[in-house]
């Protein structure tokens, strides 16, 4: 950079910036399946992965679908609005896990059910005080913040 004229320096920087942006976009696009943290139920139903593949599935826990079995076993279905997938899981669930909330599970897709080995809760970007939500529920005007489905 030292021996170059100012105009040439600007040209090089502009060129470098364009090359960087372009390569980032290309890499990001090509590896989007690996960069995305989870697959949606629609993607799983559309192209069911083989039973030995470990992957993550993410979506909303369908309302009224949680069935607690013996011990710590839980069965529920995860949905993205278009498709739903049955999930079974044995273990402790995170605090935020409940019906109508987002979740991400790791596991295998065997015979039409997703056998999860790990369940994470996905939090959305809404923050509201407890008292306000209670008051809204009392008046019957409370709407689930994630009732409209997330993108994807």
């Amino acid at each position: 950079m030292k021996g170059l004229k100012k105009k040439r320096r600007i040209q090089i920087i502009a060129l470098a910036a364009v090359a960087l942006g372009l390569s980032t976009a290309l890499i990001g696009y090509a590896m989007r399946d690996g960069i995305n943290f989870f697959r949606s139920p629609s993607q799983v139903v559309e192209a069911p992965p083989p039973p030995n593949e470990v992957f993550r599935i993410g979506g909303l826990v369908e309302n009224g679908s949680i069935v607690r079995g013996r011990g710590e076993t839980v069965r529920f279905s995860v949905t993205d609005g278009a498709a739903a997938v049955e999930v079974t899981y044995t273990g402790l669930l995170p605090d935020l896990f409940s019906e109508g909330e987002g979740m991400v599970g790791t596991g295998r897709y065997v015979d039409g059910t997703f056998q999860a080995t790990e369940i994470l809760a996905k939090h959305d970007e809404t923050y509201m005080p407890k008292e306000v939500v209670d008051a809204l529920k009392e008046q019957g005007v409370y709407q689930e913040p994630n009732a409209p489905l997330p993108g994807g």
Binding site: I13, A16, L96, K122, H123, E125, P129, V132, V133
Partner: protein, 243 residues
């Protein structure tokens, strides 16, 4: 009278002292008010309970971690194009401050994620690019130390800064490009939709203002130190030459 006058080291030293002190004092007040307000005088969230209070550290520090790198990018570009030494030194001075912000955001995020998500770390696009940004901060600081000649060091670190900006931008917008991640989208945005209730929002704004002013004050302080250190270096070299 042009803006570039302030790139003159003497002019910079003369004009930056008062703003630095004022910003430092204002930052202390804003942080004290914002954090006490946020930690002790806000209600619990309807799903997160008291864990929501981590937002007062996490969001401002993450914001400044990313903006800090972008500030270094602007300073580096000014150095590369116009060759103002104060600009290169400002970029160098900002790196440890930005690195600390990144670390604070990573740690507070892990503390929040542990009870909320059920894990303290996940290889989500946003989290991963943020970790890479942290590594870029470390590499940037190391590169400055590794090269003896100040002008070469400034050139090479500027190029590193340009490359690292990819991850600074990604940590902010990864949620938009790859929408199937674990990290939630932006809670604060300038468009109309409101995601954060006012009781949480106002103390958060005060905290953000505090972090911004703290960052600027620290960068000014460290830049002044860098300018003095370089002056000292020149003086010692001169004495050694004449002796």
């Amino acid at each position: 009278m042009s803006l570039w006058e302030y790139a003159n080291p003497a002019k910079f030293m003369a004009t930056s002292r008062r703003p630095m002190q004022a910003l430092g004092a204002a930052a202390a007040v804003a942080l004290a008010v914002g954090l006490v307000w946020g930690f002790f005088f806000t209600p619990d969230d309807y799903r997160q309970g008291a864990t929501v209070k981590i937002i007062y550290l996490h969001v401002p520090s993450a914001l400044m971690a990313i903006n800090g790198w972008l500030m270094m990018l602007v300073a580096s570009l000014i150095w590369l194009i116009r060759r103002h030494h104060v600009s290169a030194l400002a970029a160098r001075a900002a790196a440890p401050v930005g690195m600390t912000m990144t670390l604070v955001a990573l740690v507070t995020g892990a503390v929040w994620g542990s009870p909320m998500w059920g894990t303290w770390w996940a290889w989500d696009p946003r989290l991963t690019s943020f970790l890479i940004l942290f590594l870029f901060y470390l590499g940037y600081i190391a590169l400055w130390e590794a090269i003896e000649d100040p002008d070469t060091a400034a050139d090479l670190t500027s190029v590193l800064c340009l490359v690292g900006s990819v991850f600074a931008v990604l940590s902010r917008y990864a949620v938009l490009f790859w929408n199937q991640g674990l990290h939630q989208g932006a809670s604060l945005s300038l468009d109309a939709e409101e995601n954060v209730a006012d009781v949480f929002y106002f103390p958060l704004l005060v905290c953000i203002a505090g972090f911004v002013m703290l960052f600027v004050a620290l960068v000014l302080l460290r830049t002044r130190t860098e300018v003095r250190a370089r002056r000292l270096h020149v003086l010692t070299m001169r004495r050694r030459m004449s002796a």
